[in-house]
């Protein structure tokens, strides 16, 4: 029974108007110079303002919920801003718009501490891609040198059918490398 009562008061808190939710947020996160209220003080304030009572545990859980809701609202707002900004570019497809908006939302919704980890991860990934690109360039340069050597060899063995046959096999191996 007490659990039912808690669920009801929790739902009442969550369903308060946006203005009331802002007031409740400010109680715990006052603007500069404001007084931060304790959960006990807020539990006294709620029945006076909105006409129902809440337990301290319900109030504590409600603030966890409100923190996430605000973070998601803020992340969605940033993602929407990015979407509107990018939409000015006619070359961006709707699919790309959605992908970028989702990436902004993801980055914004992750705790600030974790973002640093993701930035480091992204940098490492970029470095790995750069190394892979350089390795591919070096391999391509090596292949060009081998092919130049083969051209010179081909000129040398003209008129020698056995050497030409071996050359064809060698060239096939190089082209597959």
């Amino acid at each position: 029974m007490s659990q039912d009562k808690e669920i009801r008061s929790d739902a009442k808190l969550k369903n308060l108007s946006a203005e009331a939710l802002e007031d409740l947020w400010r109680f715990r996160n006052p603007e500069e110079g404001g007084e931060k209220l304790t959960l006990e003080a807020i539990a006294v304030e709620i029945p006076l303002r909105w006409g129902f009572t809440v337990s301290l545990s319900t109030l504590s859980e409600f603030y966890s919920w409100l923190r996430l809701k605000r973070r998601m609202d803020s992340a969605a707002e940033r993602a929407q801003q990015a979407r509107l900004e990018l939409a000015k570019d006619p070359s961006i497809t709707p699919e790309d718009l959605e992908r970028v908006a989702q990436t902004v939302f993801t980055a914004e919704s992750i705790e600030a501490g974790n973002i640093k980890g993701y930035v480091s991860l992204a940098k490492l990934r970029l470095q790995a891609e750069k190394h892979e690109l350089e390795r591919a360039k070096l391999a391509a340069a090596d292949k060009s040198k081998i092919e130049a050597g083969l051209d010179a060899l081909f000129a040398e063995i003209q008129g020698n059918p056995r050497a030409l046959k071996l050359f064809a096999e060698l060239k096939e191996v190089v082209s597959k490398a």
């Binding site: 966890s64 969605a76 993602a79 970028v100 989702q102 993801t106 919704s109 992750i110 991860l121």
Partner: protein, 89 residues
């Protein structure tokens, strides 16, 4: 698992995703939220079971969305079926 707790976990997870304005939420943000609202916090087994059940093809209440930020990042979005179910809970 206690069926009341099981229902509460699924409901809390769907509610959290509903607040994401249609975006997918990374597990790094989603799990701490669910943990903060459910006492005691979820075990890994409970979390995995909830995700598996909600995302199972036959239910399709949530869907995994690939991340461009990090391909290894798991993130989830609520589906229309998920919203419909949540409204009845």
């Amino acid at each position: 698992m206690n069926p009341v707790r099981k229902k509460l976990i699924r409901q809390t997870l769907l509610e959290a995703l509903k607040h994401a304005h249609g975006f997918a939420v990374p597990e790094e943000s989603l799990r701490p939220h669910v943990d903060a609202l459910i006492r005691p916090p979820l075990s890994n087994e409970e979390w995995n079971a909830a995700i598996l059940e909600l995302s199972h093809e036959s239910r399709g209440l949530i869907v995994q969305v690939p991340s461009d930020l990090d391909p290894d990042l798991k993130q989830w979005a609520i589906t229309e079926r998920g919203r419909t179910l949540l409204a009845t809970l």
